[in-house]
Amino acid sequence: MLAREPRRRRTPKLALHIMKFGVIVFPGSNCDHDAYHVISKHVGQPVDFIWHRATDLSSYDALIIPGGFSYGDYLRAGALASFSPVMASVKQFAAQDKLVLGICNGFQILCEAGLLPGALIRNRELHFVCEHVNVRVESTDTPFTHELRRGQVLKVPVAHAEGNYVCDDATFEELQRDNRVIFRYSDRHGRVSEEANINGSRDNIAGICSRGRNVMGLMPHPERACEDALGSSDGRAIFHSLVGAVTAIAA
């Protein structure tokens, strides 16, 4: 008798703890559905789209500010979105130590809103960079990366024209001292070098977190790296970390 092929698991593994996610949608967001898909299909938690005019975020445990071109990147990338009604509520949300993850344009919005220090300016080479890059995990002491290893290299896609992270020396020293740089662009062996710096960011910074470590912004797109069919599934660990973090707090 032929051995029976094991049945593929159809439901996501993690469905034990219910944690409600919100994906904020601005006019011009275009990675909102990717984030929604990852949370609902791979992480297996309830998730809602939140329109940028909403002000009540009390029912959510974590927010994702997705990538895209909010307001057409007019004025500065993320600037106009940071003045939209929902951002005032996001600031209160973050002040309650709840989790906010900004991806790509979301990172730009968080910087413009003052939830993260520094700013993102035009790429050094002026090109729109759209490729898979390697980022090295620099800190696992956050709710977003505690399921990763320090020094681990993730293969994730980037797609941006304004991802060149700049900040003044005082801010940079503070980021270094408090271990708030979460990801750096590196080669696939984890070597941080000038060649691996795709956009000219200061000290290869690809992602940072806030002083309270509950707000993280990063330029690469982990939500586009959650299925092997898309070339990489390294991004999943970030979303699984998020769920683990909240359930740990609740427990």
Binding site: P117, I121, R122, N123, N164, V166
Partner: protein, 111 residues
């Protein structure tokens, strides 16, 4: 009905607004705020660099540096006097038009 009330409210108030302050009574002195936003000297300007490169390719000599910035023209309500206009435009420039981390700004008021 609230809908009608809002409409007639506007109907009555809009013409009267022209006479709300002494300045507003004088017709035709609309001011303009000009806001110049430039990158701080410490921030690298890749766009300016590319422009400088192109300009040099065209054979222009003696160019030391090119920095690219932004320019805004804001038409102001005739009800504002110059001091108020400057205050308002400066606030706007600081809070929205520029990012204080990377940019400086300068405000001019034109009568």
């Amino acid at each position: 009905m609230p809908y009608y009330r809002a409409f007639f409210g506007w109907w009555v108030r809009a013409p009267l607004a022209r006479f709300s302050t002494p300045e507003a009574c004088v017709p035709g002195i609309n001011m303009k705020a000009k806001v110049y936003v430039t990158l701080k000297p410490s921030v690298l300007d890749p766009q300016g660099k590319a422009i400088k490169h192109s300009v040099e390719l065209l054979g222009y000599d003696g160019i030391d540096d090119v920095r690219q910035g932004k320019y805004f023209e804001i038409a102001l309500d005739s009800g504002l006097n110059e001091d108020n206009a400057r205050t308002e435009a400066t606030r706007m420039a600081r809070e929205i038009l520029s990012n204080p981390i990377i940019e400086d700004f300068r405000v001019e008021i034109e009568k």
